[in-house]
């Protein structure tokens, strides 16, 4: 069972929900796909860490073989290659590593070399396998690192929790695509609802079963409940705002290990999700 946790808006509590779900599941895998700002590792403090480099391919040019036909320049849709003083030059930041220039070159003057864009760390916290994708600072795209993290963690345990990046762009799609169930974490504000709708549409488009989890509930925002009702979105959990929980979170402590009420809430959430996933299989 692969559970993706996402939110659209940042800071609603994706990592909070993911980490606590993984811990109550006991034997599970936690995968941090928020590779630009991975924080699950701060909570889970994994031991026996191993690290694998994530590389992408970039072209390098053999100027002796290059005949100056500029077929590579014409082919590249990202304008990553230019001819400067009759020599091909690569603009690394915009290269998508598609490999097309090497195929397009008629004189075999383009070789591909590895360039590291991040790493995947793997370790353990109790029964939880902790997989963290970390993108290097200054890099543009986290997609290769997300792919690397998913590849290392997806099939290891019965239960996998995928902590997704915020937003609703390609990186979220990549993280969600292989999941069986999506947990949409929301906060009860106009901002929260607006971004919740964006990810709800994304998840619906992928035909994934889903539920909403309200975090930091502090006062009313009836518009949210109305939206869920209208679209038949079940709200599986509502975590009330509390100063204690905020402090536990600030210290990067695991809430279910410090708060029995929280533990019950997350056990209940996991049960509900498991029931839905199994039910969906039967239907």
């Amino acid at each position: 069972m692969k559970i993706a946790v996402l939110s659209g808006k940042g800071g609603t509590g994706k990592t909070f929900v993911s980490v606590n779900l993984a811990v109550v599941a006991k034997n599970s895998t936690y995968i941090d796909c928020d590779v630009e700002e991975p924080n699950g590792r701060l909570f889970l403090k994994p031991e026996d860490l191993t690290s694998t480099a994530v590389n992408v391919k970039v072209p390098s040019f053999d100027v002796d073989k290059c005949v100056g036909c500029k077929k590579c320049v014409d082919f590249c849709r990202f304008n990553a290659i230019a001819f400067i003083k009759d020599k091909p030059k690569l603009f690394m930041g915009v290269c998508h590593s598609c490999g097309g220039c090497a195929i397009a070159c008629p004189s075999m003057a383009i070789m591909e070399t590895d360039r590291q864009v991040g790493e995947v760390q793997k370790g353990r916290y109790k029964g939880v396998t902790v997989v963290t994708g970390v993108m290097n600072t200054g890099e543009e795209s986290g997609i290769p690192v997300i792919k690397g993290a998913l590849k290392q963690g997806l099939d290891e345990n019965e239960i996998t929790v995928i902590d997704c990046p915020p937003g609703s762009a390609c990186s979220v799609m990549e993280s969600v695509e292989k999941s069986d169930f999506c947990v949409l974490v929301a906060e009860l504000t106009a901002f929260g609802l607006h971004n919740f709708i964006m990810v709800y549409e994304l998840v619906t488009l992928l035909n994934k079963p889903l539920c909403a989890v309200i975090n930091k509930e502090n006062g009313d925002y009836p518009e949210f409940n109305e939206y869920c009702k209208q679209h038949n979105i079940p709200i599986f959990l509502s975590v009330p705002y509390s100063e204690e929980l905020a402090l536990i979170g600030a210290d990067a402590k695991i809430a279910v290990e410090h708060d029995t009420k929280c533990q019950e809430m997350f056990k209940d959430l996991l049960e509900k999700i498991a029931y839905e996933v199994k039910g969906a299989g039967k239907r």
């Binding site: 659209g8 808006k9 940042g10 800071g11 609603t12 990592t15 630009e36 700002e37 924080n39 701060l42 391919k57 082919f75 849709r77 990202f78 998508h96 598609c98 490999g99 097309g100 195929i103 397009a104 993108m135 600072t137 200054g138 890099e139 543009e140 795209s141 986290g142 990046p165 915020p166 937003g167 609703s168 762009a169 390609c170 990186s171 979220v172 799609m173 990549e174 695509e177 906060e187 009860l188 504000t189 106009a190 901002f191 607006h194 971004n195 964006m198 990810v199 549409e201 994304l202 488009l205 502090n218 006062g219 925002y221 100063e243 905020a246 402090l247 979170g249 600030a250 210290d251 990067a252």
Partner: protein, 295 residues
């Protein structure tokens, strides 16, 4: 005109709340929302003028003509983005994974792959007494960096065209996105300073370090403020100490205030009400303007 970008690294620390209040404090005539995959500034920065809407085209997308396709699988073999789906010897394109590189069309011996334009989002521009440029990326799409550059570009062009006052002492307010990747890198280029809004937590600090490093690679000045500092005062001290150690200007801290979310849910900014957070945010604003030499 000076350009101030609001960033955070970690999401949900209060970028948009800060940006919306700064717009009012500064009486800004040029505003942009660069958080194109979760834009929210328009909710609290209401415009009365009719907007101009424009389509945004990202990379082209591949599609396979099944009549022409011989099922050789070369496209499947060469695609680096797992965007070609194979079912036996039938191949189709996953539009969400396709990055538009056209390698599939290059290697297809049957000429069965077509690259077509793809609407990847929509730009919205308000250009009345104030210019407000915003956009929404279509879900699951890439190219957010390109869209961010267009949002900023439109703000600049429209400000010039409408001949709004552009005295040196005016400031453009740009709301950024969380993270450190392509939309952030695109939004940072050309700004005079980035104000980083963080929160007092270990996650906030870790993300702050990563965004500070990214900004320094891109040679952009930063300043830092802490939102909801009283939720974890010790962590707030830790962040303030980090800023001191690295010579990063620290422009203030804002208390947790329930009034903030109440204001937002009413569609107004913190500058429109009077509460503890408002006065703290005004101090942050004044300190930021001082750094920008816009007193």
């Amino acid at each position: 005109m000076k350009k101030l970008l609001i960033l955070s690294g970690k999401g949900g620390t209060g970028k948009t709340t800060t940006a919306a209040a700064f717009v009012k404090f500064a009486n800004a005539v040029a505003i942009a929302d660069c958080d194109v995959d979760a834009p929210n500034l328009h909710i609290v920065t209401k415009m009365n003028d009719e907007p101009i809407n424009m389509d945004f085209y990202g990379s082209d997308k591949a599609s396979i003509d099944t009549d022409k396709c011989s099922g050789c699988g070369k496209c499947y073999e060469k695609c680096r983005f797992d965007a070609i789906i194979s079912k036996g010897d039938r191949y189709t394109v996953n539009e969400f994974a396709c990055e538009g590189c056209a390698v599939c069309s290059l290697v297809c011996p049957q000429n069965a792959v077509k690259m077509t334009e793809d609407k990847a989002g929509e730009l919205t521009l308000y250009a009345g007494k104030k210019v407000f440029s915003t956009a929404k990326l279509k879900m699951g799409r890439g190219n957010s960096g390109k869209l961010v550059s267009e949002v900023k570009g439109l703000m600049q062009q429209a400000t010039k065209l409408t001949q709004l006052k552009q005295e040196k002492e005016s400031v453009a307010i740009i709301d950024g996105s969380p993270g450190i990747g392509c939309p952030v890198i695109a939004s940072i280029s050309g700004v005079d300073m980035a104000l980083i809004v963080t929160e007092p937590s270990l996650s906030g600090l870790s993300d702050l370090m990563r965004i500070v490093k990214t900004a320094s690679i891109l040679q952009t000045r930063v300043a830092v403020c802490i939102n909801r500092y009283d939720q974890a005062p010790k962590k707030a001290e830790m962040i303030q100490k980090f800023c001191e150690d690295y010579d990063i200007p620290f422009v203030g801290k804002i208390p947790y205030d329930k009034q903030a979310s109440i204001a937002i849910n009413k569609g107004i900014s913190l500058a429109d009400i009077s509460c503890e957070a408002t006065s703290a945010l005004k101090k942050v604003f004044d300190a930021t303007m001082k750094l920008l030499e816009l007193e």
